[in-house]
Structure formats: structure tokens, C-alpha cells
């Protein structure tokens, strides 16, 4: 196949894939309405199976069907989980005033500093005990401690990890994120956590931002808002982590060979969509949106989040996991348990006891 033909196939796959994603989101909305109506008929006013879960399940079913029919690779260019999520997060800014953003963002940054440092070092130590390669250690520790797939990619670039290591960590991130997205709101409910603490817990623990937003959505709008802001605070740390990793690899692992990283790397790795989110939040704080407009922007936001949730299901694959063996999986699971417990303690102290973000 010539390069031009490959490009044409890619574009065709993108367009067909996008059309398919829109159909799947419509299906999610229809299924969600049907589920909500069914619960209402039983006297349950709030649908306990919120749309993120419905979307992931529909994504998983579509994933299986597309693989069986051999169409998966063709539509793959349209499966852009991170892009859809980031657009959704920019739009979420319309619902968050600057005051809330500063309060929750300050709490989120303090929590992020504690969580990223502790979870990164714990994962690094645990991976060392299991004698994992240095590059895999770096990619895994960044993914668990910062923000899942994006952090894994940024860290891989900084330490020049192998592509398979990134694919492997991506699989682990999604594999743990889907159950956590459902289990954590349930656990928070059992523990009677208030929405702010619950949101901070989800934001501090679940690796991938899409699942953080999903868990928050399942728990309620306030939890979704706090979860997203806390996760964004964690996301902005990725530049610093990537820079420090690159420095460590240049100075220690590769013993001064190769190029030494410069601080500009922090800006290069900075998640720029956060700026879009802040701009929209400032516009909202200046009363530039009427309530009707916020409702409309919120609808657009739901569309993009639903697209991201469907893509989580479409992204899922177990093939990489089989190749890597049990050791990295065990380390990742151990780090996730540590992350879950520590995030609960830190979120309770910062957002519950100290009342930051309230």
C-alpha cells in the first residue's frame, strides 16, 4: 500500500469511526434513559447506573464486535479518548467559578504534591523489589502517581522507554480504571463521604482522568467538579515529573551520556488544555454565561465525556498484558492499593478536616 493510500484509509477510518462513535453515544443516551425510566418505575428516583458505566459497557461490546469483524484497526483513528476528554474538561470550566477553582485547585495542588511524591516513590521502590527494568519503573510510577496514560507517554518520552512498555502500562491503567470508576463511588457511598471528599478521593486515586470524571459523575455533580479539578491539579505536575525523570536518567542511569534536559521541558509537557479550562472558568466567573447557556455548554460537555467513556471501552485490550508477565501486574496492583488508601486519608484531611475546597 502506498503512503497516499495509507493516508486515505486513515482518513476514511477516522470519518467512519466518528460516525460510529456518534451512533454509540446516541445508544448510550437511549440506554441511559431506558435504565433511568425503569428505576423510576420501581420507585428509585436516582439512576444508580449513571451514563459513564453504560458508555464503557457499550464501548466494550462494540470493541468485541469490531475485533470479531476485523474492523477494529480501520476505525482506530477515531478512538481518541484523551482528546474527547480534554475538550469535555475545557467545557466543564463553564460550571466552575474562579473562586471554586482557586479553593479546590489549592486543595488539589497540595493533595497532588503529597500524592505524586508518595505514590511515585512507593511504586519506584516496589518495582525495584520486583527487579523491573528502569524504564518500565519510570513509566509505571508516573502513570500510577500522576495521570495514567498521558503521564505514561510523557515519562516514556523523557526516559526513552520502549513502545511495548507504554502499551502495557496503558492496558493496566484501563484495566484498573474501569472497576475503580464503579467501585469507588459505591465505597464512598458506603462510607458516607461528602461529595467534596469523595471527589477529591476519586481525583487523587484513579489513574486515568476519564475514569475520574466518570466516578465523579456517578457520585453526583459536586463530586464530579471536585474530582475533575483535583485531577487537573495532578495533571499539571506531569511536566515537572517528566523533567526530573529525564534529568535522573541523563545523570544517573545513562551516566551523563546524551543530551541533558532543560527546564523548558516542563512547559513542553504541561497539559495546555488546562489553560482552556481556566479561561472558560474565568468567563463564567465574569457572568458572561446565562444559566441557559451554561446548560447548553453542559450538554456539549456531556457529549464529549460520553465519547471519552465509550472510547475507554473501545481502547481495552488484554493482548499486551499476556506478553508482559505477572510481575509488573503485581507491582501495579500493589501501587494502586497503596494509592487508594493514601488518597482516602489525604483527601479526608485536606478536603474534610481542613475544609479546603469547600
Amino acid at each position: 500500500m502506498t503512503q497516499q493510500e495509507t493516508q486515505s484509509t486513515k482518513w476514511a477510518g477516522l470519518l467512519v469511526g466518528l460516525a460510529l462513535l456518534i451512533i454509540l453515544v446516541v445508544l448510550v443516551a437511549e440506554a441511559d434513559k431506558w435504565i433511568a425510566d425503569s428505576f423510576k418505575a420501581q420507585g428509585v428516583s436516582k439512576n444508580p447506573l449513571e451514563y459513564p458505566l453504560t458508555a464503557v459497557v457499550i464501548g466494550l461490546i462494540a470493541n468485541a464486535v469490531l475485533r470479531v469483524t476485523g474492523l477494529y484497526t480501520f476505525i482506530r483513528p477515531a478512538v481518541r479518548t484523551e482528546l474527547f476528554l480534554k475538550i469535555g474538561l475545557v467545557l466543564l470550566g463553564a460550571r466552575i467559578s474562579l473562586g471554586d477553582l482557586l479553593a479546590q485547585g489549592t486543595g488539589g495542588l497540595i493533595q497532588a504534591l503529597i500524592m505524586v511524591a508518595s505514590v511515585f516513590l512507593f511504586t519506584w521502590w516496589l518495582a525495584g523489589r520486583f527487579k523491573l527494568p528502569e524504564t518500565l519503573k519510570a513509566v509505571m510510577a508516573s502513570a500510577v502517581s500522576v495521570c495514567g496514560v498521558s503521564a505514561a507517554i510523557a515519562a516514556a518520552g523523557a526516559v526513552q522507554a520502549r513502545k511495548e512498555e507504554v502499551s502495557y502500562i496503558t492496558t493496566l491503567v484501563i484495566l484498573t480504571a474501569i472497576p475503580l470508576m464503579v467501585l469507588m463511588p459505591w465505597l464512598a457511598n458506603v462510607m458516607g463521604l461528602n461529595p467534596t471528599v469523595a471527589g477529591a478521593w476519586f481525583g487523587g486515586n484513579i489513574d486515568t482522568t476519564a475514569a475520574v470524571v466518570g466516578a465523579g459523575t456517578i457520585y453526583g455533580p459536586e463530586a464530579q467538579q471536585v474530582a475533575a479539578v483535583v485531577k487537573l491539579a495532578q495533571n499539571v505536575m506531569i511536566g515537572v515529573v517528566a523533567f526530573l525523570l529525564a534529568l535522573y536518567f541523563a545523570m544517573v542511569v545513562n551516566r551523563g551520556e546524551g543530551e541533558r534536559p532543560t527546564p523548558i521541558m516542563i512547559w513542553h509537557r504541561f497539559p495546555k488544555f488546562v489553560l482552556g479550562f481556566v479561561v472558560v472558568s474565568i468567563l463564567a466567573s465574569l457572568d458572561m454565561f446565562t444559566p441557559a447557556l451554561v446548560a447548553e455548554i453542559d450538554t456539549a460537555n456531556k457529549w464529549f465525556f460520553a465519547l471519552a467513556f465509550v472510547c475507554i471501552g473501545l481502547d481495552f485490550t488484554l493482548a499486551e498484558l499476556r506478553k508482559a508477565g505477572w510481575k509488573p501486574t503485581a507491582v501495579y496492583m500493589g501501587a494502586t492499593v497503596f494509592n487508594t488508601v493514601l488518597a482516602l486519608i489525604v483527601a479526608t484531611v485536606i478536603f474534610g478536616v481542613l475544609g479546603l475546597g469547600a
Binding site: 482552556g276 472558560v280 446565562t290 441557559a292 447557556l293 457529549w303
Partner: protein, 146 residues
């Protein structure tokens, strides 16, 4: 954001792309780049005074007031560009009339706008609210808000 060498191909990082698309959507919906955008205008009319309000012409306005009236039959929910719509308060109820009031010099509303004349001959103040959703409320877009 990068410009790769050779053919000078422009490419945008995912982060910037998401930011631009997100802000673009906010601009389209929020600032009404494809239409007037969402509107909400509340006017308080004190006894013995008259207020003039310009609003974008269009159908589908929702009207509410804190005095006695039947919004479905009485209120002007379709506004035509260049026309003037009158509201008044008489004996505690809202009254309506279309067209330029007699013996009053009326400034033409700006292009594409309709004008509301709100007068009050009652003893107390009343408020009237005109609301309009933005233009994107089409069935497929609104599937999550049914």
C-alpha cells in the same frame, strides 16, 4: 504546536487542539456566533415609569412576570425585528399591545432587534423576564437533557 521541516507541515498537539475545539464550542454557543446565543433579560418597572428593552428578534421566547397574567396566551413569545411590543400593568394585571404607542416618539430598535415598552400604572413595581435558549437546542444534541 509544531511546524515540521521540509514541507513546512503544520501540526497541533492534542492539548492545543482540545483547547481550541473547547473554546470554539463555547464561542459558538456562548457568544452566539451562529445566532443570537442564549438570552435572559429581567426588567423591573417601578410604578409610574416606562422602560425600553431591545431584544434579538426570534421565536421561542419564554416570558415570566411577578404579576398576574397568562403567559401562554398573553405574552409575546415571537418577536419580529423592528416591531415594538407594549406591556403595561393595570389593576394588578399585565396588559399587552403591539405597535408604537400613540403620542410617543419611539427610537427605532437596532437592526435585527425588537423592542419592548414596559409601562406601569399599578401601585407596585413588577418585573418581567424574557429568556431564550441558544440556537443549538436540536433533538440529537439534547439527548442527555430529556
Amino acid at each position: 504546536m509544531t511546524v515540521s521541516g521540509g514541507k513546512q507541515r503544520f501540526s497541533l498537539s492534542e492539548d492545543w487542539l482540545a483547547t481550541l475545539i473547547g473554546l470554539g464550542i463555547v464561542a459558538i454557543i456562548g457568544f452566539g456566533l451562529l445566532g443570537p446565543g442564549g438570552q435572559s433579560k429581567t426588567t423591573v418597572v417601578e410604578p409610574g415609569t416606562t422602560q425600553v428593552v431591545d431584544l434579538p428578534a426570534g421565536d421561542g421566547w419564554r416570558v415570566t412576570a411577578d404579576v398576574d397574567f397568562a403567559p401562554d396566551t398573553t405574552a409575546f413569545t415571537s418577536l419580529t425585528a423592528g416591531l415594538v411590543y407594549q406591556y403595561g400593568c393595570q389593576d394588578g394585571s399585565l396588559t399587552t399591545a403591539e405597535g408604537v404607542p400613540d403620542a410617543l416618539t419611539v427610537e427605532q430598535p437596532p437592526r435585527g432587534m425588537a423592542q419592548l415598552w414596559l409601562s406601569n400604572t399599578c401601585d407596585t413595581a413588577y418585573s418581567l423576564t424574557y429568556k431564550h435558549d441558544s440556537i443549538l437546542r436540536w433533538p440529537l444534541f439534547g439527548i442527555f437533557t430529556r
